[in-house]
């Protein structure tokens, strides 16, 4: 069977010493930053990107992916132990997980979280292996019109499914698209928005934008809300869940995995929405719904399965279409481009070892997380107590060195300071940086696809509507936007992100 030969190829690729050790390093780092509040996977991956230039592509991607899903595990550890969700995707885990910890069941909650995450990770590895090839096969038939419409749909979906104001998300996307155009126009050779500065001729490096907005901008915002974090940590004992815990977790884990996989594949879905959705679903269908908020094990199992499923499934649009579902995927795309790989449906056929190696490594990484994290709990707990005042200067140093090493020019360091400033100002105005980064990555591609589509149609813009696949995607985008304008939907959307 082709599936097995593919997975076997992946196993061969990922089971080398170098790839295994970078996978381990990735999940380890990911857990660490997941534990540390105020440092997310996007900033970390941006910081580490320059260090991956020298690695073989598959090794680089394996490590970066490990950081991403490792952060989901780390985030839930702090959510359960100290009621401080390290990542947005584990906010709902804190609701019941922390209550369990207060009742002396911290170990059981952690184990259930880890096991349900691992289960979801396993299922999703298989799902990706099953669904990515047919999807890529369809995508290979896409012309420029389809790609353009797909990107429009992706951008629209990513803001409808994320939280925050739609209008500002749209504004940030357009701003991101514009910033993405800075540099030399590939078609005419005209320099656009470069102010005659040589360093801008190749455009603004997306690592600079990401580090400025997610690294520096976040730090400034965090410092403003800095308070004394009173961390009282519950003793962790009895790591093995009881038979009853198991029994009660099975159905929620399955439901969480299903919902997470579904939402994760959509652009903008990803881990956060999946966990919120899964918790809300369990509250409706669970037999023990009266216990929710008071330490119900279902309230840990379902969102943890869902956020891990969502995180992994967001690799599907990235790997098969070259479309980022969230900022982390945008960075992964950037990493591929830097490595000289054009992301898109051709990756699977041209770089089978890279594709399948990455997928299988995700399963291996999940296994590592399961085996490593529970025994290392003590260390993670210690990390939570590191005061932010020691942490943030170190983060800034790594950002500065990382940005400088991109092109060995101080100009990039100045640019990062500028984007840190911009990021903070927009954050104060409730304009999220994520849509800007997605637009920034997609900007040049969208221009190129639109240009080619219009060239082929001799300037007739209705080509976007004449081709059935392209038209379907645009109609879907309009429907999505229209739904937000409906009061009942926008209310549900608000509620989905306010589960507290």
């Amino acid at each position: 069977m082709e599936l097995f030969s593919n997975l076997l190829l992946g196993l061969e690729t990922s089971f080398t010493l170098i790839n295994l050790s970078y996978c381990l390093m990735g999940v380890f780092l990911g857990t660490a930053i997941g534990v540390l509040p105020g440092l997310g996977p996007a900033a970390t991956i941006a910081m580490l990107l320059p260090a991956t230039f020298a690695m073989p592509p598959v090794t680089a991607l394996i490590m970066l992916a490990g950081i991403f899903y490792g952060a989901q595990y780390g985030g839930s550890t702090t959510a359960i132990l100290v009621n401080l969700p390290g990542e947005t995707s584990s906010v709902v885990t804190a609701l019941d997980g922390y209550q369990m910890a207060r009742q002396g069941k911290a170990g059981r909650a952690l184990a259930v979280a880890a096991l349900s995450s691992f289960f979801a990770g396993t299922v999703c590895t298989l799902l990706i292996a099953l669904f990515a090839p047919p999807l890529a096969a369809i995508a290979l038939k896409f012309g420029p019109a389809e790609y353009f419409s797909l990107m429009v749909l992706g951008l629209i979906a990513s803001i409808v499914l994320a939280h925050g104001s739609i209008l500002h998300a749209l504004g940030m996307i357009v701003l991101g698209l514009l910033l993405g155009l800075v540099g030399t126009d590939v078609n005419s050779g005209a320099a656009r928005y470069t102010f005659g500065v040589n360093e801008l001729a190749d455009g603004i490096g997306f690592v600079i934008v990401a580090m400025g907005m997610f690294g520096i901008g976040e730090i400034i915002a965090n410092l403003q809300d800095e308070g004394t974090r009173d961390v009282s940590i519950t003793k962790v004992k009895g790591l093995w869940p009881t038979r009853e815990d198991f029994k009660r977790s099975i159905a929620p884990t399955l439901r969480g995995t299903a919902l997470g996989s579904l939402l994760g594949i959509l652009p903008g879905g990803g881990a956060a929405l999946a966990s919120f959705g899964a918790y809300a679903l369990e509250k409706k269908v669970s037999k023990s719904r009266h216990e929710f908020g008071k330490g119900a094990v279902e309230g840990v199992a379902a969102p943890e399965a869902a956020n891990n499923a969502g995180a992994q499934m967001s690799f599907i649009p990235m790997l098969t279409l070259g479309i980022p579902a969230n900022p982390v995927m945008a960075l992964m795309i950037g990493a591929m481009i830097i490595q000289g790989i054009q992301p898109g449906p051709a990756v699977m056929s041209e770089q089978p070892a890279l594709f399948w190696g990455l997928i299988v490594s995700m399963w291996i990484g999940n296994l590592m997380l399961l085996v490593l994290n529970l025994p290392l709990i003590g260390m993670w707990v210690k990390m939570i107590t590191i005061p932010y005042r020691y942490l943030f200067p170190i983060i800034i140093v790594f950002c500065a060195i990382g940005v400088f090493s991109l092109n060995n020019t101080y100009f990039d360091v100045y640019l990062m300071a500028l984007f840190g400033f911009i990021g903070y100002v927009f954050k104060k105005l409730d304009c999220e940086p994520a849509p800007l980064l997605l637009g920034f990555i997609l900007g040049p591609m969208m221009e190129e696809f639109l240009r080619r589509a219009l060239l082929l149609s001799k300037g007739d813009p209705t080509v976007l509507l004449q081709r059935p696949i392209s038209a379907t995607m645009l109609v879907l985008a309009v429907i999505l936007l229209g739904m937000v304008l409906l009061p009942s939907f926008s209310k549900t959307r608000e509620v989905a992100f306010q589960e507290e």
């Binding site: 260090a51 020298a54 104001s165 209008l167 749209l170 504004g171 357009v174 701003l175 514009l178 155009l181 078609n187 005419s188 005209a190 656009r192 928005y193 520096i216 730090i219 400034i220 915002a221 410092l223 403003q224 800095e226 005061p387 932010y388 005042r389 020691y390 943030f392 200067p393 800034i396 140093v397 950002c399 500065a400 060195i401 400088f404 090493s405 060995n408 101080y410 100009f411 360091v413 100045y414 990062m416 300071a417 840190g420 400033f421 903070y424 100002v425 927009f426 104060k428 105005l429 409730d430 969208m446 221009e447 639109l450 240009r451 219009l454 060239l455 149609s457 300037g459 007739d460 813009p461």
Partner: protein
């Protein structure tokens, strides 16, 4: 008429200003025609779109209620930015050995929680040593340990 949603108003104003900036800077880029898009086509369309979103946001700020912006952390913003900019200035001239501590000290001023004690000093020394060993020696990032100010003063091997 009064502004009811401060955040919408200022975000909208920013969009309008940025859009005007992009349109003005791009005024000479050739539009071309739809079948042969010039370098100006996409930016101009996007520029007007951004401006439109800005206007909508401003109008909305008068019609719906929104949260106030709250305090802007100017001090934090200034110290962190100053630290990063200083790093940019010093990295090639003075070198990493000076740029890094300056960045750490300046950005530490951004936080009221920062302490300037022995523990902090040891962390700073450890971090500097770590970065020199890992980034310059280990990963081979072409970043001078001692920069151009030290040319001819110290042996070149110390600078790398």
């Amino acid at each position: 008429m009064r502004i009811r949603a401060e955040k919408d108003f200022w975000a909208g104003l920013l969009y309008v200003l940025l859009s005007a900036g992009f349109l003005w800077l791009g005024r000479d880029y050739k539009m071309g025609v739809a079948s042969r898009m010039g370098p100006g086509y996409f930016p101009i369309v996007l520029g007007w779109t951004l401006g439109a979103f800005g206007v909508v946001s401003i109008v909305r700020s008068f019609l719906t209620d929104g949260a106030p912006i709250g305090k802007i952390a100017w001090k934090t913003l200034a110290w962190v930015s100053a630290g990063v900019l200083a790093f940019g200035v010093l990295i090639t001239t003075a070198g990493l050995l000076f740029a890094l501590p300056v960045l750490v000290l300046l950005s530490s001023l951004a936080s009221a929680e920062s302490r300037y004690d022995l523990k902090g000093l040891l962390i700073l020394l450890g971090l500097t040593l770590f970065c020199v060993l890992v980034f310059v020696k280990g990963l081979g990032v072409p970043m001078p340990v001692l920069g151009s100010w030290f040319d001819g003063i110290v042996p070149p091997t110390w600078q790398r």
